[in-house]
Subunit: 406 residues, 2 copies
C-alpha cells in the first residue's frame, strides 16, 4: 500500500497568501456592495511595457511559421537572453559572471523552492525572521527542518535570524553555524536593504565557515540609494559562496508571464564538484525551459527602450511607496521600508496582533494587507503593505486607513 511523503503533512495550514485569498474571498462574498482594495500579495498591476509587448508579438509570429518555429529550448536557456543578462546585470556593475553561469527559469518562486534539492538532507538552514515563506516551507517538504513548535511558530532545526527594529532589520551572524543561508535584500517583507559593507560581512562569514548564501535579489530594481549592492557578486569572494536568484516579476511586471534566473558561479564547489553541475543536471532532468516567446520578452527588457520603460514603471510603484509611507507616518503609524523596496513594513496599532489588525483593516477600511506574523514570529505586531496597486487604489486605501486611525 502506497504511503505519502510525511514531510508534506508536517506543513501547518496552507500557504500564507492562499489563506489571505480565502479570507478576502469570504469577505467579498459576504459584502458584495463594498470595494475591497488589496495592498496584500506582491502582485503588480501595471501592464507589460511596449518593448516587451512588441517582442512577444514578434516571437508569436515566429512560432506560426515552420522556418522560424522553435521547439524545445536549450536546457539552460537561450544564449540571446543569457548574454544580455550577463552584460547588463553583471558586467556593467563590475561583476564577473559568465553567460553559462546563468540558468533561465520560469520564475524565482520555483527556483527558491527547488534550490535546496542540491544539498544534503541534513543541511542546516538559516533564515531571516520574518521571511518569505517559501524558503522554509520548501525545506519542510524536504524533511530538513525538524519538528514544529506551533506556539512559537518555529521549526527545531531552522536557525532564525531576527530582523527587528533593534538591529535595523539587518540580521546578525548566527551563533550556530548554518550550511545554507537564505538572504533576500532589498528585503521582502520588511523593505530594508543592506549596504555593500553589511553584505560583505556575510560573504566573508560564508566563505569562512563553508556555507552557501542563497541570495534572493528579486527586488534589486527598486534600489534608489547609493552603496546598496544590486548583486551579491559586487562583494569580494561571492563567487565561492553565493547563488543569486533573480526575477522579472517585479522589475518588468512578469508575475503572470513567468521568467527568472539563477546564477551559480563555477567557483562554488564542494570538494571537486561544482554546484553548477548539479543544477544543470536538475534542469536537464526536471525542467524543459521557459517558453521561447517569454525568453524573447525577457530579452526586450534589456534594450535601451525596454530599460527606460521598466524604470518608469518602477518609479511609478516607488511613488506609491512614498505615498503609503508618508500617509501612514502622518496618520501616526511607525513605518519602515519603502525606500529601496516596494514594501512598507508598519507596526500594528494598539498592540494588536498581525492577524487581528488584518481582520480589522479588512472590516473597517476594506483594505487587505499581509500580517507580519505570516512571515515568522518576529513579524508579529507588524503588517506589510505593497506599492504595487494602481495610483487611485493606493490613494483611496490610504485615505480610508487615515479616516479610521487618525
Amino acid at each position: 500500500m502506497f504511503r505519502l511523503n510525511q514531510d508534506y503533512l508536517k506543513l501547518p495550514g496552507s500557504y500564507l497568501f492562499s489563506t489571505i485569498g480565502k479570507k478576502a474571498g469570504a469577505y467579498r462574498a459576504a459584502h458584495p456592495d463594498r470595494t475591497v482594495i488589496s495592498l496584500g500579495i506582491g502582485d503588480v498591476t501595471q501592464p507589460l511595457v511596449p518593448a516587451v509587448i512588441d517582442a512577444l508579438h514578434r516571437a508569436v509570429d515566429e512560432m506560426g511559421h515552420a522556418e522560424t518555429f522553435r521547439g524545445y529550448a536549450p536546457d539552460l536557456g537561450y544564449a540571446f537572453l543569457r548574454d544580455v543578462i550577463a552584460g547588463w546585470d553583471y558586467r556593467k556593475r563590475g561583476c564577473e559572471i559568465a553567460p553559462d553561469e546563468i540558468f533561465i527559469s520560469d520564475g524565482a518562486k520555483g527556483d527558491s523552492a527547488n534550490i535546496q534539492e542540491l544539498f544534503s538532507a541534513d543541511a542546516q538552514i538559516a533564515v531571516c525572521d520574518p521571511v518569505y515563506p517559501v524558503y522554509v516551507d520548501s525545506n519542510v517538504m524536504a524533511g530538513r527542518t525538524g519538528t514544529y513548535d506551533a506556539e512559537k511558530g518555529t521549526w527545531s532545526r531552522v536557525i532564525y535570524m531576527p530582523c527587528t527594529e533593534e538591529n535595523g532589520f539587518c540580521p546578525e551572524l548566527p551563533e550556530k553555524e548554518p550550511d545554507l543561508i537564505y538572504l533576500c535584500f532589498p528585503n521582502n517583507p520588511t523593505g530594508s536593504a543592506l549596504t555593500k559593507d553589511q553584505l560583505q560581512v556575510w560573504v566573508d562569514y560564508a566563505n569562512r565557515i563553508g556555507a552557501v548564501i542563497i541570495y534572493d535579489a528579486a527586488y534589486e530594481a527598486y534600489i534608489c540609494e547609493e552603496n546598496i549592492p544590486h548583486s551579491i557578486y559586487e562583494c569580494e569572494g561571492a563567487r565561492t559562496c553565493a547563488i543569486e536568484l533573480r526575477s522579472f516579476s517585479k522589475n518588468a511586471g512578469f508575475t503572470g508571464t513567468r521568467l527568472g534566473f539563477v546564477v551559480i558561479p563555477k567557483d562554488l564547489k564542494s570538494g571537486d564538484v561544482m554546484v553548477h553541475s548539479l543544477w544543470a543536471r536538475r534542469h536537464g532532468t526536471k525542467y524543459n525551459g521557459a517558453p521561447y516567446i517569454v525568453q524573447r520578452a525577457g530579452e526586450a527588457v534589456y534594450t535601451q527602450q525596454g530599460q527606460e520603460q521598466i524604470r518608469a514603471q518602477v518609479a511609478f510603484y516607488m511613488e506609491n511607496a512614498r505615498i503609503i509611507r508618508e500617509s501612514l507616518k502622518k496618520t501616526g503609524f511607525t513605518v519602515y521600508g519603502g525606500v529601496n523596496a516596494p514594501y512598507i513594513w508598519m507596526k500594528t496599532p494598539d498592540g494588536l496582533s498581525s492577524w487581528e489588525f488584518f481582520d480589522r483593516l479588512l472590516e473597517d477600511a476594506n483594505v487587505i494587507g499581509t500580517p507580519g506574523s505570516g512571515f515568522g514570529p518576529s513579524g508579529e505586531g507588524y503588517f506589510r503593505l505593497t506599492a504595487f496597486g494602481s495610483r487611485d487604489n493606493t490613494i483611496e486605501a490610504l485615505d480610508r486607513i487615515r479616516r479610521f486611525y487618525e
Copy 2:
C-alpha cells in the same frame, strides 16, 4: 561545511538527450559540409496552428493594457482552461473528472519528474523497460532507487517490467508489489499501445494491492485504432488509483511553448488524506502557474477550429510515421510502433548494439535516432526514430538509410 545531495551524484552520466546532442554537435563540427537529419529527440517541427497563434496575439494585447493585464495566475490554473479540458478530454469520453481535479503546469516533463515527491522516501517504483528516462532519474535524485549496477544499467530498488517482442511490448504484472507504477501509453519509446482491456488489468491490480499508477498519456492524440483508451479514466476504478499526466507538446506543438496538466481525482487517498491536497500544496509552495498567454493558447486548442487544425497536424506526423515504417520494412528491418504513436521502434541490424548503430547511422547516413539502450536494458538492440521531422527530411533520411542497408 555544506555538503551536496549525494543522490544527485549517483546519476550515471548525463541525460540521454544531452548525450545525443553532444555527439551530434561534435559530428556536425567535424563535418560542416554534411547535412545531418535528426529523427532523434521527440521535438516537433510544424508551427503552432493559426487558432493558437491568434489566441496568443490576443492575450499579448491584453497584457499590454492595465484593464486587461493579468498578474499571478490562480495556483492550479485558470478556470477557462481547466473547464474546457474537463469537457473535451474527459466528459466527452465518458470520464468523470471535475475541473478542480486538473492542475495546469508548464509541461509533462516537470510533472513526471515532480510527482514522486508526494510519496514516501521508501516507495518502491515499477517502470517499463525500456522507459522514458525522467521517471527513473527523478527517483534516483530522491534517493529511492538503491544502488546502480553499471554493467546491467539497473537500480537495485527499481522493479523493471520488460517490454519486449515476446510480450508485444505490453508489460506483465510484476512479481514484487510496487507502490508506484509508471505507465506511458501510447508508449515512448516503443510506440506500442494498450487496449482498454489490457489497461483495465493494471487498474484492477493497482486497486487490489494499493498502488498508484502514474499514467503518462502525452501521446493520446496519436491513437488511430479503436478500443485504445485515450485516458486511464476510461477504465473502471481508475479514480481510486490513477494520476494522469497530459501534455500540449505533441498534440499541439507546444514543446517550446510549455503547457501540460496533471489529473488527480479526489478519490485517490492514503487513509483520509487526498493525494490531490498534497499536489495542491506543492503547486502553492513551489510553483507560480503557467503564463497567462500560454494558458489562453491552450484554451484555443479546445475550440472547433483549434481541434481541426491540430488533428491535421497530428495526421501529418502520422503520415511521416507510415513512411518511416513502410520504408524500413521494405529495406528489411524489423519494425514496431508508428500506428498509434509517433515513434518507430526498430531492431538494429547485424546484431549491433544500440549505440553502435547510432554511431554507424550518424556516420553512414548522417541521420540521428535514439539508441534503445538509453531507455533501459531491454531497449538494447533497438533504435527509436520519431515522426516529428518535416516531410522532406523524413523522406530524405529514409532514402539515405535505404541506400546503406538495402
